[in-house]
């Protein structure tokens, strides 16, 4: 039983990591559109990255609610 829990927890870690890669990739493409001239995100880019992630997750929650409502 303990080993199953441990496998579950490894699996969900892998899912979280994989989501982080996909979100970073998507938000990078949305937010970093200028030529790169610095090794840091500037304020606009960095706000954009954070807002992109948060609003994507908000949109995901909204879509889940809409599909649940549609299935009734």
């Amino acid at each position: 039983k303990e080993i199953m829990q441990w496998i579950d927890s490894e699996n969900s870690k892998a899912k979280v990591q994989s989501s982080i890669h996909n979100f970073t990739d998507m938000c990078w493409k949305k937010c970093v559109t200028k030529d790169i001239t610095s090794n840091m995100l500037d304020t606009t880019e960095s706000n954009c990255m954070t807002n992109c992630l948060q609003r994507f997750l908000d949109t995901n929650i909204n879509v889940v609610k809409l599909i649940q409502a549609a299935q009734k």
Partner: protein
Amino acid sequence: QISQELAIANATELVQKITENCFQNCVKNPGSTIDAAQKKCTEQCFEKYMHGWNLVSRAYITRIQQSKYDI
């Protein structure tokens, strides 16, 4: 049980595609909240995408059945 997993996989995939596409269509400049216009757009986009998904499903299944064509 596999059929049920298939249905869940299908719903999960649909949620993911709708989220990705409607986020791109409706939230072009993500700010500190989802505003009313973006929320309304997402709702319309959701129904519109479902409409498109239904069109494609029916057309594809009809075509498979007619021609035994298998991609």
